[in-house]
């Protein structure tokens, strides 16, 4: 098998593109897809400070690598979740990556900074481990970006993640979630701007890129999760892709081209500052503060503050897709 561009021996075949690439041409292909995403959706410019949410997995580290390679002002943010050796290893690879490239890495530790870790939250709270993990990441990333002066948060969502999420939201016709599946979520009412520069690349491409670039990433999945709904959607899409290469791209990128405008009116959430922490929420207290209070057994507000609207808000916030699927392992 030969590279489509230079005819040297290929190291990867991309059936969706009817192409195979050697290593240099493949790396060029990946960088080109990221550049195209950034430019087409006007994600950020050369002067913007970009905060890359890194987990130690292939997607987020590949994204950070590409952005640095393209010359963007990209710093990393690693959130320590307290999941034993898994978190220890995740933190190590992020620190080593940053040190090797002379890049800036910010760190937040859930236990040190907020008083609980994910395993404890899963046992004590009413939400699943993955739910409270995802909620914590979204909260911390947003807060850190705003407090530390970043212009935009970049996450490592890839094409497979986005297609699987769109499939799930479409199967349930959750129009307000569908409306928010754009690769750019503009800054709004205390929410930092969020972008997904890998959304044109499959998991195969991001994994191959990370491997070929010699990025030491965490291959193991989070020990707290054994399969989730997102994984089943991915399996269904992979089954379609096996016989019809390009199905995932057609589904998600087609949605961006022709479907996204149909749902624009469905995202009408009004945000206001959380009464406890000031972060944006649709209720009086944000879902993170409510979850944290529950886990720590601390009161939050006055008796009777909790209501149905708050529960709906939690459901809504947990469904917002702003994290890479590589984090699904510890997100669910």
């Amino acid at each position: 098998m030969r590279c489509r561009r230079c005819r040297e021996p290929a190291v990867i075949e991309l059936r969706r593109h009817h192409a195979a690439f050697c290593q240099p041409c493949f790396e060029r292909h990946v960088r080109g897809q990221v550049e195209r995403a950034i430019e087409k959706h006007r994600m950020f410019g050369e002067e913007d400070r970009v905060l890359v949410a890194v987990s130690g997995g292939k997607d987020s580290l590949a994204l950070w690598d590409v952005l640095l390679d393209l010359g963007y002002r990209a710093s990393g943010l690693y959130l320590g979740l307290g999941i034993g050796e898994y978190s220890d290893r995740s933190g190590e690879v992020c620190r080593r990556f940053a040190a090797d490239r002379g890049a800036e890495l910010h760190e937040v530790d859930l236990a040190e900074d907020y008083g609980f870790d994910v395993p404890t939250a899963g046992k004590r709270g009413s939400r699943s481990t993955c739910a409270v993990c995802g909620l914590s990441k979204r909260y911390v990333f947003n807060r850190a970006a705003l407090e530390r002066g970043f212009d935009v948060i970049a996450t490592g969502h890839n094409l497979d993640d986005e297609a699987a999420t769109l499939l799930g939201n479409t199967l349930r016709w959750q129009t307000e979630y569908i409306a928010r599946q754009a690769p750019v979520l503009p800054a709004k009412d205390g929410m930092a701007r969020k972008v997904k520069p890998l959304h044109r690349l499959s998991e195969l491409e991001t994994a191959a890129y990370a491997f070929l670039r010699g990025i030491d990433y965490v291959v193991e999945e989070c020990p707290l999760v054994a399969g989730n709904t997102q994984l089943r959607y991915k399996a269904a899409l992979n089954a379609l892709e096996a016989t019809s290469p390009g199905t995932k791209a057609s589904f998600y990128l087609g949605y961006l081209d022709r479907g996204v405008g149909l749902f624009a009116d469905a995202d009408d959430a009004e945000l206001a500052p959380c009464a406890a922490c000031g972060q944006p929420t649709t209720g009086r207290f944000c879902a993170f503060c409510r979850a944290r209070a529950q886990v720590l057994g601390e009161p939050l507000g006055e008796p009777g503050d909790g209501d149905g609207a708050a529960d709906r808000q939690v459901s809504r916030e947990l469904s917002e897709e702003v994290l890479p699927a590589e984090l699904y392992g510890d997100r669910g």
Partner: protein
């Protein structure tokens, strides 16, 4: 030929002297969902492997271990 599978880590023995795609088919693995690595080099599905080779088959799908 030794094949190291990941998530969870385990090792299986399969026949070599054939193409990667045939090895993956025997293991019931979709070639688009894994990296196949031999001696720190990525292999395409058309690459031939031999009995003496040692392969790593590394999943690319994130989102939790298999249900």
């Amino acid at each position: 030929m030794k094949v190291r599978l990941r998530n969870p880590d385990r090792e299986v023995e399969v026949a070599g002297a054939r193409r990667v795609r045939e090895v993956l088919a025997e293991l019931d693995i979709d070639p688009d969902t894994v990296l196949v690595i031999r001696d720190k080099v990525l292999l395409t599905r058309e690459e031939r492997v031999e009995d003496a080779d040692e392969l790593e088959v590394r999943p690319v799908i994130s989102g939790g271990t298999a249900p």
